[in-house]
């Protein structure tokens, strides 16, 4: 990691009609960083990524991607960034090899043959290279898509929910690869809504309804929200959850397997609330808030603000 910014944009805004999909988002990602871009479905992640690589025109905003102006130099950005779409968008009626070759030609790569061969090899697609892309399973399609959007050796990869519908083993392999590539100096912006994936990122940005709610490292975000979380185990947890949810100061009471996580951003208030329930029926333990707790907390808080 170094101090150079691969992505440095401010005030990025996009409206569809009179609906603001992305609302003045600032984002800074250092070269070699893996930035997780989190948010529920329809929060504006895809729109934001598309603006970065010139697929959508931004209504407002400025800044640079890989040192090129995000508004006016999208052609230069396209040449140096790779974009992996959420839905598989390579040609299903072409084979793996043909798809890679097509992309390589599109970028007029000089040593095209080697680049394609190398890409097939590196991603372990060797035996399947003549298989039609349409016949591949989700995990293989995802590998192909990643290989294809890296064939022109981009410095920045914008991945839009790359592991949706991919099995755990393939996901793990995928993330191993991402970390290796980041080690070689590639920068990643990865949209996801899997919390375990978020924890594998160097930095996180959390977006909701087009607004950026939090940005920073995992530790920073946990720090920023001052969330206190208690884990309870015992019987009749459902009834307990019901009772706790009604109280102001309890933002969350969520079941996690055999335990209940109770969180709030005011630790004293929370302690007062749970005091009456600290009986022999329940076992209370204070734990570190997880990312999921934090994000659900951020979402709830944002909802409260909207309704108030």
């Amino acid at each position: 990691m170094n101090d150079e910014l691969a992505i440095d944009v401010r005030g990025m805004t996009k409206r569809f009609g009179n609906r603001t999909v992305v609302n003045h988002i600032d984002l800074q990602v250092h070269t070699g960083e893996i930035c997780g871009f989190l948010g529920p479905n329809g929060s504006g992640k895809t729109t934001f990524i598309r603006m970065l690589c010139g697929l959508l025109r931004a209504e407002a905003g400025s800044g640079t991607v890989l040192g090129y102006d995000v508004i006016t130099e999208s052609d230069a950005i396209k040449l140096r960034a790779g974009y992996m779409t959420q839905k598989f968008s390579f040609y299903e009626d072409l084979s793996i090899f043909e798809n890679l070759d097509f992309v390589a030609r599109m970028y007029s790569i000089e040593d095209r043959r080697e680049a394609v061969a190398e890409s097939v090899e590196r991603l372990g697609l060797g035996e399947r290279k003549d298989q039609l892309a349409g016949e591949l399973s989700g995990g293989w399609k995802q590998r192909l898509a990643l290989a294809a959007c890296m064939i022109h050796r981009p410095k920045l990869l914008l991945l839009d929910e790359p592991t949706a519908g991919v099995d755990p083993q393939a996901r793990r392999d995928f993330w191993e690869q991402i970390h290796q590539l980041a080690g070689q100096g590639l920068t990643f912006l990865i949209a996801t809504h899997y919390m375990d994936e978020a924890e594998r990122c160097h930095r996180l940005a959390f977006i909701l309804n087009g607004n950026l709610l939090a940005q920073g490292t995992v530790a920073e975000i946990l720090e920023q929200t001052h969330l206190t979380t208690w884990s309870v185990s015992g019987s009749k947890l459902l009834e307990l959850a019901e009772q706790l949810r009604g109280q102001p100061g309890t933002q969350q009471a969520v079941a996690f397997g055999n335990t209940l996580h109770v969180s709030g951003d005011d630790s004293d208030a929370l302690e007062r609330i749970i005091a009456p329930f600290r009986t022999e029926h329940y076992e209370w333990r204070r734990i570190d808030a997880g990312l999921e707790d934090v994000f659900i907390h951020l979402m709830e808080r944002s909802k409260e603000r909207e309704s108030s």
């Binding site: 598309r50 690589c53 010139g54 052609d75 396209k78 974009y83 839905k87 968008s89 390579f90």
Partner: protein, 379 residues
């Protein structure tokens, strides 16, 4: 539950849904209204199986009064419009080959003298019979006409000439297609029609398919330019076009025995321009259409006037001026003249050249619209 269950509520839900979908898809709606309207207009007004006002040239080698009476009478039938006068037969032949005139009427030297002597002078009518439908009624009218037209002039001392078997010997030369075989006209025309239909359709789907399958997003994220995409999508189909031409020419020669008077290589070279024109049109449709279905509909919308107004299905000269004006815009109209000219008339480059540039112009305009409409972003 059986297949015969009927629920008015479900039925109504379907009706409402279909209406909403139809309302959202304005183009489909426009086509549903537009196609019947267009057909009504075309069949009702434009199609004329008894074409009149056919351009006719005269070679007048005799200035006598009877010759003029005859020409006046011909003009009065409204089949013939005298547009040119030539001095020599070869001038007349060139005009026929170019398609400038449909008929050349030859009134020979000493016509009046021979008529008055009762020698039954000949009038030669040369007709461009490439499309027999255009000429047959006009020629039919001549036979009647010649027997009656001179009746006023042949009175008093000349009355003896008015008797049978007619004072004038009418000779009709149906050029290019003497036996009036319709296939000679239709089969070469089919080359143009088939190319128009398939080339436009295939390419109309090109961009819309990308958009529908989501691959457009990927394509746009790559550094590729509109013209590269558009022309890149055209090229493979040129080959397909030539395969189609090969098949039709093969059938024309071996099944229909259509004469091939002109140069086949010339025809194939000129066809290239025509193929490009149709592909450009198709690609342009596909940049305008939202989805594949709309693209196909637009293809059909283009195909209809091509069939009806180009001179393929109906005589071009039988149509009113406005319909001919529309026809002149279509590449198929010009290509039909080229392909019939080369195959049936044996035309060379000089004769068909005036029909090439309108096709080229059409191509440029269509492609320009396509490039302009091609969206570089997903907005």
């Amino acid at each position: 539950m059986t297949g015969w269950d009927f629920s008015p509520a479900r039925f109504w839900a379907m009706v409402v849904k279909e209406f909403v979908q139809m309302r959202r898809d304005r183009l489909t709606f426009a086509m549903m209204v537009g196609i019947p309207l267009l057909q009504l207009i075309l069949f009702g007004y434009a199609i004329n199986s008894d074409p009149r006002h056919l351009p006719t040239a005269v070679i007048l080698a005799d200035n006598g009064r009877q010759g003029r009476t005859l020409l006046n009478a011909m003009q009065n039938t409204t089949y013939f419009d005298f547009v040119r006068q030539f001095k020599t037969e070869s001038e007349g032949h060139e005009a026929l080959a170019r398609g400038d005139v449909q008929f050349v009427i030859n009134i020979p030297e000493n016509f009046t003298r021979d008529l008055l002597r009762g020698d039954r002078p000949s009038i030669l009518v040369e007709a461009d019979a490439t499309d027999p439908g255009t000429t047959s009624n006009a020629i039919g009218s001549l036979n009647v006409l010649l027997n009656t037209a001179l009746q006023n002039d042949l009175k008093g001392p000349l009355a003896f000439l008015a008797g049978t078997p007619g004072p004038i010997d009418l000779r009709v030369h149906a050029l290019y297609n003497p036996e009036a075989i319709t296939q000679y006209n239709i089969v070469p025309g089919l080359i143009g029609v088939v190319l128009t239909m398939t080339m436009v359709m295939i390419t109309a789907l090109a961009i819309t398919r990308e958009r529908e399958s989501g691959t457009m997003e990927n394509l746009l994220s790559m550094p590729v330019r509109p013209l590269e995409v558009l022309i890149g999508k055209i090229i493979p189909y040129i080959l397909v076009g030539y395969i189609q031409i090969g098949l039709i020419l093969f059938a024309a020669h071996f099944l229909f025995r259509v004469p091939m008077a002109g140069s086949l290589p010339l025809l194939l070279i000129i066809t290239f321009v025509f193929i490009i024109a149709n592909l450009a049109m198709g690609v342009t449709f596909s940049t305008v259409a939202e989805n594949q279905r709309q693209a196909i509909q637009m293809g059909f919308f283009f195909f209809l006037p091509n069939i009806l107004l180009s001179g393929f299905a109906f005589s071009f000269r039988g149509m009113p001026d406005w319909a001919q004006a529309i026809g002149e815009l279509l590449p198929l109209t010009h290509f039909l003249r080229i392909v019939r000219g080369i195959l049936l008339k044996g035309n060379g480059l000089a004769e068909v050249a005036p029909e090439i540039w309108p096709i080229a112009l059409f191509t440029v305009v269509a492609l320009a619209i396509g490039v302009k409409r091609y969206r570089q972003t997903l907005d």
